[in-house]
């Protein structure tokens, strides 16, 4: 029986086409993927992302626990700041990609993918128990320090250039004071307590708003109402996928997984091999970093009309040199685009490649570009 967010009835009433995703019934689209994509790039779009997971780590040793599971460094993360990271296994394989918030000196919140919520919760508890067993901190630290607060946390994303001015209509708190990757407690609609975070998954300005499940319906309605003259529309997972792919953002289960490491995925900037002495996977990742990765996740700018899909082969000079992990049509670039693992030396920008598409293995020409495909727009 798939789970439903508190906004399910609203999606159906809005005429959304629903789908099952990570055990949840979610809206794929309302007016259409391309219309919703364009709304986000030009104005703003509202996403129900209540299905995502939130895990709180609190207590005297919260930072130590998060430092152990996360490849990025939270030791100097100030209260109110967010940070992108991954959690890895000992061999460097990725458990999940996460957003870490420091909510207080002794309280961190990890926002995780819906599909990995239970796995991540068990993993963090396991690592915390390991730290305790090592005698890293005193016997008063217990399992209560790691809590899955997903059921008590609802989440909306308002993304696009108009997001701030629309959301500002709902609060007297100054949203312009919240910088990129910062979050602040705000009061919306007079009495609704929420955490407004200037983060997102669309490659645009915008806010992700955390509130209680009891309040999220009223908040959804208020945002759509406040934004209707600005052309704010509800957006589904279909548009969300196109937007994030254009922005070069990874999707767990497609571009990254337990079988990939963050270095080959181009995420070396969040793997603090040099400055962090201790995190799970450090030894393997430092070794890989020193040796270099034989393949890299790159963007593909396609010259034909067929769309590369997950699993399509990438070829150069007749030989297989890679595999597509995500593909779509890009409304911003008006061409098909993809992310693919490509082996060196072909994984350099400008490499000419072919992608084998469809049951008849039609070869479509393309070019290796930076993962952040939107940058291509600035070149023309």
């Amino acid at each position: 029986m798939p789970k439903r967010t508190p906004l399910y009835d609203r999606h159906v009433a809005l005429g959304a086409k629903m789908t099952q995703f990570a055990g949840w019934e979610m809206p794929v689209r309302y007016a259409g993927i391309i219309k919703e994509h364009d709304a986000v790039r030009q104005r703003a779009g509202l996403f129900d992302i209540c299905h995502m997971g939130q895990i709180e780590v609190r207590g005297e040793h919260a930072t130590a626990v998060v430092q152990r599971v996360s490849t990025n460094d939270v030791s100097r993360l100030p209260v109110g700041k967010a940070q992108y990271s991954v959690m890895c296994r000992e061999d460097g394989g990725i458990v999940d990609d996460i957003l870490t918030y420091r909510l207080a000196e002794d309280r961190l919140m990890l926002v995780v993918n819906a599909a990995n919520r239970e796995k991540d919760y068990e993993w963090i508890k396991q690592v915390a128990a390991g730290l305790r067993a090592e005698g890293r901190y005193g016997p008063q630290a217990g399992e209560a320090e790691v809590a899955d607060i997903s059921d008590q946390t609802a989440l909306l994303a308002l993304q696009g250039p108009a997001a701030e001015r629309v959301l500002q209509r709902l609060t007297n708190d100054d949203l312009s004071a919240i910088g990129r990757y910062w979050a602040a407690e705000v009061k919306l609609l007079g009495a609704l307590q929420a955490l407004a975070s200037r983060t997102g998954y669309a490659g645009e300005d915008g806010f992700e708003v955390y509130c209680s499940p009891a309040d999220v319906g009223a908040l959804w309605d208020a945002i759509l109402d406040a934004g209707k003259d600005d052309g704010v529309v509800p957006c589904g997972l279909g548009a969300r996928d196109v937007l994030r792919l254009e922005a070069g953002l990874c999707l767990y289960g497609q571009d990254i997984s337990e079988e990939t490491n963050p270095l080959e995925a181009g995420l070396e900037w969040i793997v603090k091999c040099d400055s962090k002495p201790d995190f799970v996977g450090r030894e393997a990742l430092c070794r890989i970093k020193a040796q270099g990765t034989p393949q890299r996740l790159v963007g593909l700018h396609m010259e034909g009309s067929r769309i590369p899909r997950h699993g399509c082969m990438v070829l150069a000079e007749g030989e297989r040199i890679g595999l597509v992990t995500s593909g779509t049509y890009s409304p911003s670039l008006d061409c098909p685009i993809a992310l693919a693992y490509v082996r060196m030396p072909y994984a350099r920008e400008g490499s000419v490649v072919e992608v084998s598409i469809g049951p008849r293995h039609e070869r479509e020409p393309g070019r290796v570009v930076s993962k952040r495909l939107l940058d291509e727009l600035n070149k023309h």
């Binding site: 993927i33 391309i34 279909g238 899909r309 049509y329 598409i357």
Partner: protein, 127 residues
């Protein structure tokens, strides 16, 4: 979901309409709704001969690609260039303006073996 009476339907969601000697073909309302925004269409050349159930083209949306299959075998005598120019036509009018090809069938009785509107509706309900 629109399922006009008087048309025949395939399990791969094409419709077929007898028009005198010809059989006109397109994708059903269900198909275009499943696909979403259509971004690519590949149609055969006029004059091509294909058997029943052979793929005659490809239709692709942002989220998925699908082969198009001949509901009956025969020669391709018309191809809807206007729909290929403006792909939105297919979603907007899948049974009229959004037709894809017209076939001169080699064996017109192949049409009888396809589902009628009631059977297709049942087929969709069971899926």
């Amino acid at each position: 979901m629109e399922i006009p009476a008087g048309l025949k339907y395939t399990i791969t969601h094409e419709w077929a309409r007898q028009e005198g000697e010809l059989v006109r073909v397109g994708v059903t309302d269900h198909a275009q709704n499943e696909l979403g925004d259509i971004v690519y269409l590949e149609l055969p050349e006029v004059g091509r001969w294909l058997a029943k159930d052979e793929p005659f083209g490809v239709i692709e949306s942002v989220k998925a690609a699908a082969d198009l299959y001949m509901p009956v075998g025969g020669g391709i005598v018309e191809v809807n260039a206007a729909a290929a120019e403006d792909l939105d036509t297919i979603s907007a009018s899948p049974y009229e303006k959004g037709w894809l090809i017209a076939i001169k069938p080699t064996n017109p009785s192949e049409l009888d073996g396809l589902m009628d509107a009631a059977a297709y509706e049942q087929y969709l309900a069971e899926a």
